[in-house]
């Protein structure tokens, strides 16, 4: 839709994963596909958080937030060396 994409970190409630998924990464991917066919998974996080990083438009981010099991969609932050 021409809107500017940004990187988002998506937090998932892993305890809500439907039993039809064998692995959480498949569930994450399915959730992402529900709002964007073309969005690619940048990272899947397994230990630090339950979730993934992806590029989305603000509209896609809002839409993803309404999906079951999605608890937060945070825009990526910039950090600096100290």
């Amino acid at each position: 839709d021409g809107a500017q994409q940004a990187t988002y970190i998506v937090h998932m409630a892993k305890c809500q994963m439907p039993s039809s998924f064998d692995h959480h990464s498949l569930w994450y991917d399915s959730s992402l596909r529900s709002v964007s066919e073309s969005a690619e998974m940048i990272y899947t996080y397994n230990n630090a958080i339950h979730g993934f990083a992806t590029r989305l438009t603000p509209g896609e981010a809002d839409s993803l937030m309404t999906q079951p099991g999605v608890i937060s969609v945070q825009q990526e932050q910039k950090y600096e060396l100290h």
Binding site: A13, A48, I49, A53, I71, E76, Q77, K78, Y79, H82
Partner: protein, 642 residues
């Protein structure tokens, strides 16, 4: 680093406290930074045994980096650029290594500070010479390159933390920060997961001092480290044509300037394009510090034909001067000397100047002092948790450097020098000191939780000099407070045997989040668990933290509860309360704690009773100290009137 092991008491005399074999060499510190220069002698694996069997990390190949560059010391090296490349475009591999290789020096500096091997004859152009060693020189290192030329982005940092956890590091060191107004920042969340798995996470407090409430990385499950000076300086004397001398800081070869007074001109901020070569050539130029990179000013002066630079602090920026690896002879001076020198250069009809190098001076007193740049409390996210936790050496620290970039940090065309060691300042430098010390404690006490390790470091930290006078703050020249130094300056030889510890579990932190009114979604995000907050929670201030921050609103009493665990022998501990104000009465109940065995827990409560009012935004400080005659278990107290 040279000097800081001695300054921290980790010299031969105390070698027996921290065994160099066995458990120590099984500890792994994960450093998330700009990567590593694996050829540095600091990462030699001479004398190391096999890699621990629990290790799951790997050495990732990429630009200018093969898997064979890792060894039994540098046991892991990974890079995370997928998030960065989405934001900033593809990495130009002619300019920057898309691999764990450190093109910037920062990561090599921090990794060697935490865990570099022993290197004899280390120095920077003859300065700070000695035997360099990381704080925990027998432990292993794994690096996670998460910072690139233009930025560190949180998706990459989180990916690095994710892998470090999976790889089985014991300590995580992050000299990185950002602006965060809650505990849902990526470093905070990654650190929570690490803490749950027993990984100690040490982070830099930030370099936004001396402004109050300027802290980064303030989550209570992170150990937040401020910066202080050590007993070493590199004096350089500015000699003016009127016969007056002013001492500053200088890191240049003594033969670099002619031994005579040179014409002297004023260049103001010496920004790019502002100096006229006709007016500068063959002269010493006075420049005023601003927010731009300090070594860039030297580059500008040199490009305009200047022979040397006197770099002065601007009005209001105080007396802190840091040693920088400039590309021409430079002496940096504080604001007071700078004001006088500026008057001279602007008013004398024929100003002249020279710079006299004094080399390296040690046993400087008073030391340590809190660095002016070190970020300070109060903690804006949770005012009832005192941050920073402690301070450690972070001023003019010599440590290993990359071979890809000159010591000034300027581009390869501006600075063609290459050095094995460089001198840098920042809370980036203090954080890995604490990471290494935590590794030492972990090697002696493998069963200690991250909170126990932090407690030991905090309750044994000192905040007075040997003569009993308080540690000073460079920003003010006055005694520092717990908002600047936290519990005080780290003292590893005392931390190894703290007597009592304030321990914390994951559940304690969850209770704290509940008490802090985090909703269940936020708690799930941070903890990844399916928790329910109890209907009645403990106050957030009751988190079993080794410090006390009290926010007084009007009158009343404020009661805090703590539980200490005995990690020494049997003993009777008596409390001593120190407070600088009579406006709040502090009482502790019970006043004596008797321990019969190791791991026994005892609780006590502290009641702060407001006796008289104080002006809003005023602060008062003190401490609560338990002692059995052998150990002193000290907690700082900060009382703030809102």
């Amino acid at each position: 680093t040279t000097r800081t092991p001695l300054f921290l008491g980790l010299d031969g005399q105390n070698a027996g406290l921290f065994p160099e074999t066995g458990a120590s060499s099984d500890i792994v510190i994960g450093v998330l930074d700009t990567g590593i220069w694996p050829e540095s002698k600091s990462f030699s694996d001479e004398g190391y045994g096999p890699i621990p069997s629990t290790w799951k990390g790997e050495c990732q190949a990429g630009t200018n980096f093969t898997a064979s560059l890792c060894n039994r010391k540098l046991i892991g090296a990974r890079f995370f650029s997928d998030g960065y490349e989405r934001d900033y475009g593809k990495i130009n591999q002619a300019d920057e290594s898309k691999s764990p290789r450190d093109d910037f020096g920062h990561g090599t500096h921090t990794a060697s500070t935490a865990a570099g091997n022993v290197v004899k004859g280390a120095n920077y152009l003859g300065f700070a010479s000695g035997t360099a060693s990381g704080m925990a020189h027998r432990v292993r290192v794994s690096v996670y390159k998460v910072c690139w030329k233009s930025a560190c982005v949180s998706s990459d940092i989180l990916a690095g933390m994710d892998k470090a956890i999976e790889d089985n590091v014991h300590i995580m060191s992050l000299s990185i920060g950002g602006k965060s107004t809650s505990y849902t920042g990526e470093i905070s969340m990654g650190a929570f997961s690490a803490m749950e798995r027993g990984i100690f996470v040490s982070c830099s407090a930030g370099n936004d001092g001396p402004s109050p409430s300027s802290l980064s990385n303030a989550a209570p499950w992170i150990t937040t480290v401020g910066a202080s000076s050590i007993d070493r300086e590199f004096p350089g004397v500015v000699i003016l044509g009127n016969g007056k001398n002013y001492t500053g800081v200088s890191l240049f070869n003594g033969n670099a300037l002619p031994a005579k007074l040179l014409p002297f001109v004023y260049g103001n901020y010496c920004s790019r394009g502002t100096l006229n070569p006709e007016k500068v050539k063959g002269k010493i130029v006075m420049c005023i510090k601003d927010d731009s990179v300090r070594t860039e000013k030297g580059e500008v002066v040199k490009a305009a034909g200047g022979l040397g630079m006197i770099l002065a602090n601007a009005a209001g920026s105080g007396e802190e001067v840091l040693a920088d690896a400039h590309v021409l002879p430079v002496t940096a001076v504080g604001q007071k000397a700078g004001d006088i020198i500026r008057r001279y250069v602007l008013t004398d009809p024929n100003p002249t100047a020279s710079i006299l190098i004094r080399g390296t001076v040690v046993n400087v007193r008073p030391s340590p002092m809190v660095a002016a740049f070190s970020s300070r409390g109060p903690n804006t996210i949770t005012p009832n948790i005192l941050k920073p936790d402690l301070i450690a050496p972070g001023v003019n620290i010599l440590a290993a450097w990359t071979g890809a970039l000159g010591p000034s940090g300027l581009g390869t065309t501006s600075d063609t020098r290459r050095v094995e060691f460089n001198i840098n300042s920042g809370t980036s430098m203090s954080c890995p000191h604490v990471s290494g010390l935590a590794a030492l404690l972990k090697s002696v006490h493998p069963e200690w939780s991250p909170a126990a390790i932090r407690s030991a470091l905090m309750t044994t930290a000192y905040n007075t000099y040997k003569d009993g006078k308080p540690i000073l703050d460079v920003a003010t020249g006055k005694p520092s407070t717990p908002f600047e130094h936290g519990a005080g300056h780290v003292s590893p030889t005392a931390a190894v045997n703290p007597g009592l510890i304030y321990d914390l579990t994951t559940e304690d932190y969850i209770d704290f989040l509940c008490a802090s009114n985090y909703n269940l979604s936020l708690i799930t995000i941070i903890s990844r668990g399916n928790y329910t907050c109890p209907r009645k929670t403990h106050p957030a201030a009751d988190l079993n933290y080794p410090s006390f921050a009290v926010n007084v609103k009007g009158s009343g009493t404020y009661k805090y509860t703590r539980t200490v665990t005995n990690v020494g022998g049997a003993g009777s501990y008596t409390v001593k309360v120190i407070s600088e104000t009579a406006a709040v009465k502090i009482s502790v109940e019970p006043a004596v704690l008797n321990f019969k065995k190791v791991n026994e827990k005892k609780s006590y409560s502290v009641t702060f009773t407001v006796v008289s009012s104080m002006a809003p935004r005023s602060n008062s400080f003190g401490s609560i100290e338990w002692s059995d005659g052998k150990h002193v278990v000290a907690s700082p107290v900060a009382i703030s009137w809102t």
